[in-house]
Symmetry: C2
């Protein structure tokens, strides 16, 4: 078996031991607090890792796109939530095709989208679970008040083709608790049952039980960790499984090293609480201060022994999910020995 240092660079690698630790740790947290774990596959985009998550006790999967759900259904998973609003006739038809063969859940924050999905599903004699997406403070998608949540829940309760199943929010914030409680109570007063309250996000995952309201945890990044997770304290460096191995290809000055990992390899995503474009494990004092598509610019002025041309460096990316999406495959290793090359089957599924 080849080892990490024998790979041609740049290359995406994942430490399988760390992946297993991360999966076991989050499952154990959920088990301890009676939470359903529904891991988000958008981080790894790999049926093989999804299987590890379900085998460890996850109830089902979360996907962000129909294309991801199609890959996971093809791989044999039978309980999938799509946590992104589905809009448009083509998407409704693809959802119906999925709902015909596996248990599907969807989310939404508008009567327009819910009604359109329900029509198509009902026309096919099918049904999907529907969670009302609630904006509990993140200011992205989601209904804007508990009253609006109750209103949409009531509408969905009357629609053939959708089954009102509960509430969903992202990320779970301290203020999400009271918000979701008010929504649940308003919905229950109207005679509907809130079976599921689904929260998400790795940074706050292990405080989910404190809210009381949340019954299901959707997390993705925890499986790999990344530089953002290090910065927010949710995954320590040793458990950051996903790393890019790159090579120094130019050392034009004492201060500057250029590596063969640019934005096409690492992405331009920032990491909250950290500067630059990734953490170089062997040289934490160096900074990846700029990226072009194929070039990474590293300030090595603080390095006592800066890496020379031809040396490999190992980078913890700022954001695991988008980095995984840049690579057709990922090398899984244990202690540096490659044990599998996995095709990123759900990569690039933009629709």
């Amino acid at each position: 078996m080849p080892t990490l240092d024998q790979l041609e660079t740049p290359v995406l690698t994942a430490d399988l031991d760390a992946v297993e630790r991360n999966i076991a740790g989050m499952q154990s947290y959920c088990d301890e607090h009676g939470l359903v774990l529904r891991p988000h596959i958008k981080t790894h985009k790999l049926p093989e890792v999804a299987r590890m998550q379900v085998d460890a006790g996850a109830r089902g999967l979360t996907c962000q796109k129909l294309g991801e759900a199609e890959v996971m259904a093809d791989a044999g998973f039978d309980d999938i939530l799509i946590s992104f609003p589905l809009v448009g006739e083509a998407k409704a038809e693809r959802l119906a095709a999925l709902a015909r063969r596996v248990d599907m859940g969807v989310v939404g924050d508008s009567a327009a989208a819910a009604t359109a999905l329900a029509e198509v599903l009902a026309r096919h004699g099918l049904e999907a679970d529907f969670l009302v997406e609630c904006d509990t403070g993140f200011a992205r998608t989601g209904v804007q008040s508990p009253e609006a949540a109750a209103e949409l829940a009531a509408l969905v309760g009357r629609l053939e083709g959708l089954r009102f199943a509960g509430l969903m929010t992202y990320p779970t914030l301290p203020e999400s608790g009271p918000w979701l409680r008010a929504a649940r109570e308003a919905i229950e007063r109207a005679g509907l049952t809130v079976e599921c309250v689904s929260g998400g996000g790795t940074p706050t995952a292990r405080r989910t039980h404190e809210l009381g309201e949340v019954t299901e945890l959707r997390v993705g990044t925890y499986v790999y960790g990344d530089r953002s997770c290090i910065a927010n304290g949710s995954v320590p460096l040793d458990d950051c499984a996903l790393r890019v191995v790159a090579t120094v290809v130019s050392r034009p000055t004492r201060e500057r090293a250029i590596i063969d990992a640019g934005s096409k390899t690492l992405t331009s995503d920032p990491a909250a609480g950290a500067t630059g474009f990734g953490l170089i494990v062997e040289h934490p004092e160096a900074e990846v201060y700029n990226l072009n598509e194929e070039h990474g610019y590293v300030d090595v002025s603080a390095c006592e022994r800066p890496p020379e041309i031809g040396e490999h460096v190992t980078i913890v990316p700022n954001h695991a999910c988008v980095t995984a999406n840049m690579h057709d495959d990922v090398r899984m290793h244990r202690g540096g020995e490659i044990v599998a090359t996995l095709r990123t089957a759900a990569r690039g599924k933009v629709t």
Copy 2:
């Protein structure tokens, strides 16, 4: 034939009429000034568009990665420059495999990399052209002085396996002219011939002739244009061929629309001289102020009639090259009618 507004979103589209105009315009500029055009395929990553460029008069192609060059060689192109330093045994062997079947050129800024490449090529009885990469002001890769360029040129001149062919810089800046002239003169004093001085970059492309020194133009982005090109004046909006069509999937407030194009679709790359993550053609007064992996956040507060859920919007991305890399295929259209779906054959070639 379907039309743009019938496509499921998000979807990458290119206006073939604009692509043709851009190719013809740059070729005409090069012809007028006696410059060799060697278009960079990293922008489109498509053999079909590379063919259009060569048919219009381009001498050969520029690639950034061996993987891109392998795709282009497989597609029948026989004159390829790799404008990124190749370091490592595996890459030298892949270069040799390419050099066995097509004319290959490479660049470099170090004796270490040049010597290693030469050894492998010579062992196979092969030869590649070598351009000394010069840092004429961009502070990325490249030797740091004309004297250093002459020194590396002299070394390469003595190496079996590499043929010293000239100089290369990126981007071509006003100060590149005197720098390259000094390097050329120093090299010629040592008895070597500088056949080619290769400059690059779309923003300054049409001022290349003013420098006198540059003989070859490497440009990529000109073929598609992007929001950076609009900001720097190199490609007007009407010639920005590459656009992402997205759908509004949520309108949680009067001010905010969420679209189904996030960083996995548009990338997080900024555009110098513009804020946000792309220009919405139908609503230039709106701003894509944030991206998550699948969500685009649009401030529509300035829109008199903000787009509603289900409406399509057309986005000129900040950076065409990285955006093209996010999509497995691109829909080519004329006047909104789809005329071809092209597989992005050289997408994701990180090595």
